[in-house]
């Protein structure tokens, strides 16, 4: 799965390079060439499956200085299993 996110950083970040370094260390994550001149940082994720995508997103959110993460784009063409919704088998009235 390929996705892109915008990580919004806390406004009083002391060391931007430290955050960039931490984000770059996450496997599957690519940062934009553009320098983060604002408090919003574009990130692209190339992950083998949805679980990895979620895990990477979670790791991003946990980096100190990252206020929150918004997802902008998801390419989900790759097949994923549908989740069956189990009926509770309640009696019918009709």
């Amino acid at each position: 799965m390929i996705a892109s996110l915008v990580a919004t950083l806390d406004k009083d970040i002391a060391d931007l390079s430290e955050i960039v370094s931490r984000i770059s260390c996450i496997p599957g994550v690519e940062l934009s060439d553009a320098k983060a001149v604002t408090h919003r940082f574009p990130v692209m994720i190339d992950s083998p499956d949805p679980d990895s995508l979620e895990e990477i997103t979670r790791r991003l959110q946990q980096i100190p200085g990252v206020a929150f993460v918004d997802v902008v784009f998801v390419h989900f063409e790759d097949e994923s299993d549908s989740v069956p919704v189990t009926p509770s088998g309640k009696p019918t009235c009709l």
Binding site: A3, V6, V72, V74, V83, K90
Partner: protein, 809 residues
Amino acid sequence: MSRDPEPRSDALQRRDFIKASAMAAAAAIAGGTSFALPILADEPASGVDWQKAPCRFCGTGCHVQVGVQEGKVVAIAGDRNAEVNKGLLCVKGYHVGAALYGKDRLTKPLLREGDNYREISWEEAIRTIADRIQAEPNRFAFYGSGQWTIPEGYAAQKFMKGGLSNNHIDPNARLCMASAVTGFLATYGVDEPAGCYDDLDACDVLIMWGNNPAEMHPVLFSRVIDRRSRGEKVTLIDIGTRRTRTTEACQHYLEMKGHGDLAIANGIAHLLIKNGTYSQKFVDSFCSFKAPDDANPNLHGKTISFDEYKSLLEPYTPEHVESLSGVPAEQIRMLADLFGNPKLKITSLWCMGMNQHTRGTAINTMVHGIHLLSGHFGTPGNAPTSLTGQPSACGTVREVGTLSHALPGGMVVADAEHRKMAEDIWRVPPGRINGTAGHHTVKMWESFCTPTSQGGDIGTIWVQVTNPGQTLPNLNKLFNPKGDNKAGLEDKFLIVSDVYPTATTRLADLILPSAMWVEKNGMVGNSERRTQQWFKMVDPPGEARDDCWQTIAVAYELHKRGIEGMKDRDGQFLFEVRNADGAAVPIWDWEHYYDTNVDEHLFEEYRKFSRFKHKDLAPYGEYVKARGLRWPVVETNGQWRETHFRFAEGFDPYVAAGKEIQFYHSSTHDDRAQIWFHPWIAPAEVPDQDYPFMLCTGRVLEHWHSGSMTRRIPELSRAMPGAYAELHPEDAATHGLRNGDRVKMESRRGSLVIPVWIDGRGKPPRGTVFVPFFDETLLINDLTLDAVDPFSKQPDYKKAAVRISKVPS
């Protein structure tokens, strides 16, 4: 010697392109660059066709870009051209495309035979419905939703009220925002918010009344949080009955008891008057006062003087309010001080907390009243605004009027003049529209589940785009009577159009497979009066077909049988559509349904209604070009201009010059809004010795309402697989419960066994439990209460007394 690089495969090139597109989209959003999406559409090499559509889920109305390749939705991106979401999407939004591809989509009409279903043709399905209606036209009811598109709801409305002279049509929105409607009507004489989402960009203070936008409307909430991240000062206040993700982002959390909001609102008003900090100029110029008319209860109550209003508020001192609401007196004073400061811009937001309330109309009017009393109204950032949970609760239910008492454009069946105007637009004979309101939702289902011999006067219900088998309150009474109570219901017949099997289809006699979202054309209207349009992009699976077509096909079957109501004044079919050459297009025949744009035909007819209450809509083509337009949309110098703020001079074209503020649909016909007093009244059911806990139900971020779509999206289902009961740690300890233990939860109406979650996402106070309703395997609405607000007829899903006991492992 240099060597050319190995040529990359098409697949790799394509993957690179997708990655580049993904990064470009994020960079565009992050950088706030002036160029706009669709940057994605400009790259022909991708093979992906990108088109716009509003998201399928909530009432925020975010726009997405939908990427289609080889007849399948393959990608979703936020739409930076959309003012609502500015390119951002929530977790549900970016998975919305996958909602189409659950593996158990309904693809064929199914007719119940005993305990089994038989596949039947559409022809047989349509005949079966027509048989039921023809046999007992007055015992037929149509139950829809705020997920009906505007044309779908309009077709159903016209079919019922303009065709069958039958007003038994109501939507599930009765369960989620009916009290907001009555609140607006009682205050301004006309429905829907005056403000819009722009207020979120301008307010200094945002007060959320029983509202959890961090999970339910996350894109709107992040819009405010984003401002704070940029260093702006925005004070966020959460008034609620449990801590939520919204609370975590707020500077102030005011934890109240159920119905505490009634006392808090009175407490604020009391202090504004006592401290002399209300806006006398605004009140004197633009407001009148009202109180309930106990001798003759009605939506518009009785007029009172300012002195009477002041006198009624006297008992609501901060200390008394504290005793009623549980909110400390100092916090009541803090709220009053904020409202008493004219320099601040204050926006209030609410949704289910104030609407699913047996005094929902009252609390809605009271929050409007605080804004009016303090003058925090009519300028950007100063607005009382209700949010909706469904994509077209406003556009279809409130504006098309798919309620049992309503007609399109804010008109009502009880008004002879309104009926005449509707009959003229529909070109049906005078007297065709019945002047008596039909059954509201709770009454409709109660009647359906009552044997005919005992007065149950609804025999057949056709459900479209909703899941009442999961979302009605007190399900054991209103949907699925148990034991002996189900005897005598053999003559009842339930028809359900849906996209997936649900708790409702499980009891259906006839199941119809529907097209969803971008499998059909559509138009919806969001919480800020914004009407949005999209085109069909992919085919529905199997034999699934548009709900609108289903309604028109049944109407035509009845027309063929000579049913008078299916003809207009000229003897033509009620849904006659002609092409540019004047030739009739047989839209009742699925093969020809898309020979023309049925949505456009229906919308252009419906648009005529929009003028009556100054909710003017633009021609269909304007919505094709836009990411939605906020009504009233008025043509000025050849341009169609939307309206950001109603009733305010300079923004609203219907406000006369020099008026500043003009409530031009005032119920007192003097351009004034009504400031209401209502007393604090206890909830319909409160905890006692036998049922010592207060149950609150609601939603979660990952799932949209009953979960019939989002539970089929693997990523969302894995993130939130099943329902749970949130408990306070001390209550859990008292009952010997640890995380994951199961409890039996019982109310006077039903029970279920459910795992507990202590210190989870939400944190209820002692004596309160919270259970989300998205899980069809754990039907919490077996336990909820079906008591309703006296005016809106909306039930209270937030307050029911329950008890819990540990289930041995």
